[in-house]
């Protein structure tokens, strides 16, 4: 499926289940997502992690609703738990089946996002390992002076942002010197098309979800 349409579909589904309380729809979404995750050959390890990660917040919500809220409703507790899992599996669908590069290309070509947003974000995403490294270096440098920098230390952010400012200058200059011009028409090395099948699938899933929400509890 086209990455932009997939993103749109997933956002619409997530929004809809946030404002409706239907257990069947949530369970249906989880089931379908799990099937797709396995179709995309998700590793057992990642799947296990995906099951485990929302567990604590989900249980906390369930406990609070069941024992500490005026309604003491098991039903609503189950809905909240299934909703959290639905979000996580839906999110995983995007990250498993699409790389940031594919999504960026599709957003540029199909959703007509201005090119500086697409390539600016992509340039930054490629800096993720360096950013992780930089935050580590700042922390270690602090420790060498006997200063413990934690997530509440302004200096940690200050130094990281200073690095980010100089990187963004350098990256932008590098891209512009290689001929990148904001807002100019571009040719695509990897054209991504939107087919009728993409829209067909999109509307089919939306309609299926509405049926599920209308006819089942």
């Amino acid at each position: 499926m086209n990455p932009s349409i997939k993103l749109l579909l997933i956002i619409i589904i997530s929004l809809e289940i946030s404002f409706t309380n239907h257990l069947t729809a949530n369970a249906f979404i989880i089931l379908i997502s799990v099937i797709f995750l396995f179709v995309h050959h998700i590793s057992k390890q990642s799947f296990f992690k995906l099951m485990l990660v929302p567990l604590i917040p989900a249980l906390a919500l369930a406990i609070t609703i069941r024992w500490f809220s005026p309604s003491h409703s098991w039903w609503f507790a189950t809905i909240l738990v299934s909703r959290l899992y639905a979000y996580c599996f839906l999110g995983a669908l995007i990250t498993v089946s699409t790389t940031p590069l594919e999504l960026a290309r599709s957003l540029e070509q199909n959703a007509h996002l201005p090119s500086q947003y697409v390539y600016g974000t992509l340039a930054a995403v490629n800096m993720v390992p360096r950013t992780i490294q930089e935050v580590k270096i700042i922390r270690v440098a602090g420790q060498m002076r006997g200063v413990q920098l934690s997530f509440w230390s302004p200096r940690l952010y200050f130094k990281a942002v200073l690095a980010a400012i100089s990187w963004s200058d350098h990256l932008a200059q590098a891209m512009e010197s290689q001929g990148f011009v904001e807002g100019q028409a571009r040719t695509y090395a990897h054209p991504i098309k939107v087919s009728f099948r993409d829209w067909g699938l999109f509307f089919a899933w939306i309609i299926l979800l509405q049926l599920c929400l209308t006819f089942f509890p």
Partner: protein
């Protein structure tokens, strides 16, 4: 800085990098969130972990707003942070996109009411207020806050406001002041 209204390539890269910095530091916050949840659940205040850490999640947006001082910076900074976090395997999956959107709009409104002209402690108060009210409204539906007892709802809201005020208000303002003193941002008046 280049022309006032538009986002240029350099701004976008900077916003995305800020998003990444925060996503990297957020990873630590996920552990705190889980530990708090486990500790508070037996007394029925498990969801409070969400409110206690809320200020940390909203920091990227406020800092972007203070740093770039353009309409849309608060929103973009927060939304990009959330989107990147999704790809870095954050805890929340698709909810990240939508929470990022909601938090982004909330922070942005805090800057909008000051007309994008004032960047001082008043802005800290307006962004904190908007962020607290709007994200609480979102959790009202998404996390079932509407089902809690009224006393709990009120205390959760107060906890949330304090968290947002401390982290994405005071802490971000201190960071912005440091950046001002380093002459990478203009003065707040």
């Amino acid at each position: 800085m280049q022309s006032k209204q538009h986002f240029h390539l350099r701004d976008i890269i900077l916003l995305a990098l800020i998003g990444i910095i925060f996503a990297v530091i957020y990873f630590g916050a996920d552990f705190i969130y889980n530990a708090l949840t486990v500790a508070l659940s037996p007394i029925g205040y498990g969801p409070a972990a969400n409110d206690i850490t809320m200020g940390i999640w909203c920091m990227a947006g406020t800092l972007s707003g203070f740093l770039l001082r353009k309409p849309g910076a608060g929103f973009l900074g927060e939304f990009l942070a959330a989107a990147i976090e999704t790809f870095m395997n954050g805890q929340w999956g698709a909810a990240n996109f939508i929470s990022g959107f909601v938090q982004g709009v909330a922070t942005e409104l805090g800057f909008t009411v000051t007309g994008y002209k004032i960047y001082n402690w008043l802005t800290v108060v307006t962004t904190s207020l908007f962020a607290a009210v709007i994200t609480f409204g979102w959790d009202w539906f998404k996390n079932g806050y509407s089902h809690f007892a009224p006393a709990m709802q009120i205390s959760l809201f107060i906890i949330r406001f304090i968290s947002i005020f401390i982290f994405s208000g005071v802490l971000v303002k201190i960071i912005a002041n440091l950046l001002e003193r380093a002459h990478v941002v203009r003065k707040g008046y």
